[in-house]
């Protein structure tokens, strides 16, 4: 019995997930169903005199199409079918490039991931060594604490004007914004992880007369690695949230710019598509760091 309990729980959870999805899609379908069309089967033109029809046409209303889709007062919100066809279209050709305002989703994603990756990498290079030093020195821990506490809660986008003014390049400014938002969780977690390495392990290293470098790499780093990785995972989550907003602001390329551009095109189906893609990519990034975290976690 107990051996069967585990897979069957997963299976049941999966079924419930599918059920919830089906219900949500069902509500969406029902909500975007054309109203009024079903009641007057003849369509919107049925009760109108020819003069009225002509008047409507002159006013720019497409009477024929309206009756064909049966939409007397459509909300304009895309239906399931329309979104599905956008998904199919976008996924069928993710790499097309028809100029600056019309690129495939993969190209946009690559730009965003590139910026996030670069900013995150620089943040790692700064935060991990600095966090190490702060964690090892109670003096620096206290001396730098006020700066960290003030800088940490600043929305990374608030740095954007300064970055644009000094760097004078919108793409690199995006990278800077990612850097500034990912650096804090990593810095704080590294310092905390290093500062709370068990005294016993440090004493072992001391009695073995281990050199400071070897102690840092062989004792402190593995001991603090789970905490550092947690910081990295939080940083990556924040970076992926911020990149969308940053790209909406600076424009040009990237998934955030894509969302903004499609909003200006009033193409809600593409906006919905982008939202789903952002979610899926964010989930994959998080899973990646969860996997890394599991690699360095130890049981005491």
């Amino acid at each position: 019995m107990s051996t069967q309990a585990h897979p069957s729980l997963n299976l049941r959870a999966g079924l419930v997930s599918l059920l919830i999805l089906a219900v949500l899609l069902g509500i969406w379908y029902a909500a975007t169903l054309p109203s009024g069309g079903a009641g007057s089967a003849g369509g919107a033109t049925a009760g109108m005199t020819p003069e009225q029809i002509e008047y409507a046409k002159l006013m720019g209303k497409d009477v024929g199409a309206a009756s064909a889709s049966g939409s007397g007062k459509s909300s304009g919100f895309p239906t399931l079918g329309q979104v599905a066809s956008t998904f199919a279209q976008q996924l069928a050709n993710p790499f097309y490039d028809n100029g600056p305002n019309d690129k495939g989703i993969a190209i946009q994603l690559a730009h965003s991931l590139g910026r996030v990756g670069l900013g995150f990498l620089f943040a790692c290079l700064v935060a991990v060594p600095l966090g190490f030093v702060i964690g090892m020195s109670p003096l620096l821990y206290r001396a730098l604490d006020p700066f960290i506490q003030v800088l940490k809660p600043i929305s990374p986008l608030a740095w954007m004007p300064l970055a644009l003014y000094t760097i004078k390049d919108s793409s690199i400014s995006g990278v800077f914004v990612i850097f500034i938002c990912s650096v804090w969780p990593m810095l704080i977690n590294t310092a905390f992880g290093v500062a709370s390495v068990r005294r016993d392990w440090l004493n072992v290293a001391r009695t073995l007369e281990v050199s400071p470098m070897r102690k840092a790499l062989r004792v402190i780093l593995p001991a603090a690695a789970p905490t550092i990785l947690t910081g990295m995972r939080i940083s990556m989550g924040i970076a992926w949230l911020v990149i969308v907003a940053a790209e909406m602001l600076v424009g040009g390329t990237g998934i955030g710019y894509f969302v903004w551009n499609e909003w200006n095109n009033l193409s809600l189906t593409n906006v919905i598509f982008a939202i789903v893609v952002i979610g899926v990519v964010g989930m994959l990034l998080d899973l990646m760091f969860a996997r890394l975290q599991r690699l360095v976690t130890y049981v005491e």
């Binding site: 068990r198 016993d200 392990w201 004493n203 072992v204 001391r206 009695t207 073995l208 007369e209 281990v210 070897r214 062989r218 004792v219 593995p222 001991a223 690695a225 360095v296 130890y298 049981v299 005491e300």
Partner: protein, 265 residues
């Protein structure tokens, strides 16, 4: 006096005017097994940490082999109360870390040979590639002992190594430790709470009293008495209580702990 280890006028003060212990003098010879026994808070662990070089005394000096102890050294191996194994390393890597620190120029094969020799010594060859989390408390403490022995220190310091173990496991490891110490002629300084453990293992037992308030003022703690173990060196745990003199020795130490050690807290 030209002892192997010499402690002179050692004192440790946390609250000014009320040292935890003061005027601690003792010494011992190479190859001796010395136990220190006393109530919690008398400063046993502080003395051990000073000998290890992990802590500093407020006053007094420690000399080993004619040289002053100033900081930790590979000459003194420490077995910590909470085994202090690194949980991300296997038993093999934990001990190799110590061996590589002792002899940085050894190649991997030589390090491994030394590691396997000392793991076999504590009877854990079957578990050499396991992580500490997969081992029982007794096995972890054995690994800690193997690690301390593997660097072949001049003196071994044990801080209540069996305190957290159940009685059966404790007995087994005491026997093992005794066998290894006899074989290697290792000099050992050990803290214990267990009177029988001290009688079984030690050549000499230092009885330590707590600091206390008396009508004539505060009296710091210190070594109240040094007892030389009169029992034959080939004593065993099983036969201990049949030896003549065992009960006199045991009663003497227990009386000291109950009436004279002044465990006020």
């Amino acid at each position: 006096m030209n002892a192997f280890l010499k402690v002179e006028g050692l004192a440790k003060t946390f609250v000014p005017g009320k040292p935890v212990f003061a005027d601690v003098d003792f010494g011992f010879e190479r190859g001796e097994f010395v136990c220190i026994i006393g109530h919690s808070g008398c400063g046993k662990t502080t003395i051990l940490n000073v000998l290890a070089g992990l802590d500093t005394a407020s006053s007094g000096n420690v000399f080993m082999d004619g040289r002053e102890v100033a900081g930790p050294s590979l000459e003194r191996g420490v077995v910590f109360q909470g085994h202090a194994l690194m949980p991300w390393l296997t038993v093999r890597r934990n001990i190799a870390f110590a061996v590589e620190s002792r002899w940085p120029d050894w190649n991997a094969a030589k390090v491994n040979e030394q590691v396997e020799k000392f793991v076999a010594m504590v009877g854990l060859s079957h578990a050499i590639d396991k992580k500490p989390s997969q081992l029982s408390g007794g096995m972890k403490q054995r690994v800690g002992i193997a690690r301390a022995f593997s660097i072949q220190p001049k003196m071994l310091l044990l801080d209540e190594p069996f305190g957290a173990l159940d009685a059966l496991t404790r007995g087994t490891i005491q026997d093992e430790l005794m066998g290894i110490v006899r074989e290697t002629q290792q000099t050992v300084f050990m803290i214990t709470h267990d009177v029988d453990e001290a009688i079984l293992l030690a050549d000499r037992i230092l009885l330590m009293s707590n600091g206390s308030e008396t009508p004539s003022g505060y009296v710091p703690g210190g070594i109240a008495e040094t007892v030389t173990n009169p029992l034959p060196r080939d004593r065993t745990r099983a036969g201990l209580h049949h030896l003549g003199g065992y009960y006199e020795l045991r009663n003497h130490i227990v009386d000291f702990l109950v009436t004279r050690a002044k465990a006020g807290h």
